[in-house]
Assembly symmetry: C2
Homo-oligomer: 233 residues x 2
């Protein structure tokens, strides 16, 4: 028997990956328990635990107490998206960033918005519409609602120099958020703002962030055609 030692959790992980990949352990198979693997690899159980836990988090293994560890039969690919501040995203692409505030209003929101944000329908929210530019060309249109009861400082911020996209990160903590991606056709107004034909296919990102039970902000970002969200698996 091959009794090569694997002392670091990364090397243990690599060996496990190799076995899965080489079909020594096939999808659905039960693999040896942590103690046995530790003995085989010549390392502590906690080292094996670290390696296997990490693989379980990425979806490649299914682990259950008493039932043991199995190679995932249908590994749900878990892709991690990095959603950065738009300015950083543009600047990292080597382009110059531009920002233009189109509208700033303190108004009662439509019911779809107040409903989603769970604010009273009479409560006024700060409504912002703005354009992000890369090298002078329209990059993304931002349509945002801010709950000023949760972020009162936003009421005295003009948002004419700094985008809400960036300002909120520093001033409004949030506990969690819902994100949705979809594809939409450009309406006449948005088409005009982005400088694209009406009915162009736009990539949309909708985000609703929460501070515990209170909504902080709701935003829709419509990206100019050509935008691609990339990740690695």
């Amino acid at each position: 028997m091959n009794t090569q030692t694997f002392r670091s959790w990364q090397s243990v992980q690599e060996e496990v990956l190799r076995r899965i990949h080489a079909r020594e352990w096939s999808p659905g198979d039960l693999i040896p328990n942590e103690a046995d693997l530790a003995a085989e690899f010549g390392c502590a159980r906690s080292t094996v635990n670290r390696a296997l836990r990490s693989l379980a988090e990425s979806g490649l293994l299914d682990r259950r107490r008493k039932a043991g560890t199995r190679v995932a039969a249908a590994p749900v690919a878990k892709a991690t998206l990095n959603i950065a501040v738009i300015r950083h995203e543009i600047e990292e692409g080597g382009a110059s960033y531009g920002y233009f505030l189109i509208e700033r209003a303190f108004v009662a929101a439509p019911v779809q918005v107040s409903g989603a944000m769970k604010t009273g329908s009479a409560q006024k929210l700060l409504h912002l519409r703005a354009l992000h530019l890369a090298d002078g060309a329209p990059y993304a249109f931002e349509d945002r609602w801010i709950n000023t009861e949760v972020v009162p400082e936003a009421a005295s911020e003009g948002f004419d120099r700094v985008s809400a996209n960036e300002w909120l990160l520093k001033h409004a903590p949030y506990t969690h958020g819902d994100i949705a991606f979809s594809s939409v056709q450009a309406g006449p107004e948005v088409a005009d703002i982005l400088g694209v034909p009406t009915q162009s296919a736009l990539f949309a990102m909708d985000r609703l962030t929460w501070d515990n039970a209170a909504s902080v902000t709701k935003v829709r970002l419509l990206f100019a055609p050509g935008y691609t969200l990339r990740t690695r698996i």
Copy 2:
């Protein structure tokens, strides 16, 4: 001083989150080192390490040896997408799944495909076009290329009953993949297949998976209008 104890790594994490959230530790701030926190919390350093490492992985903290741990100034939101088998995705939504193979051919691929897959331009690839249905309605159009040099068994599989989407997961291991999401307009043929107007905005997912240095498969999925990819942050 408050010397409440936090014995589990989750409770340590919650306390750290509370302090960040309450602005006791603001974005950019250096927080105490692991040893000090362990002393304060009345637990072992490794427990603190586990809590902080986890927060760093999710982007809320920046950690560097010697430089210490800081609250991230512009936390890059890391959203994890679960990309499942289409059949499971549909069935979990409570709908019945349908599958229809449109075309299966063994041909030399266009240069964009062979270039991306790094296969020889003369090498023949298995080309599949298929439709996934939810409750009988078109759900997604799949256009796929399979490298049969890497997955020879695919050559003898009809793919008329089981989608390549599902078959490959069980038969073709991969080491990594690139994923891209974008928005595209439906061309006449795709519009016809999906039963939507030409130029409809479709959500597109492009995946290219690799087995080490060899490409396994390249697929474009075009989802019918209304499709939304959701996640939580």
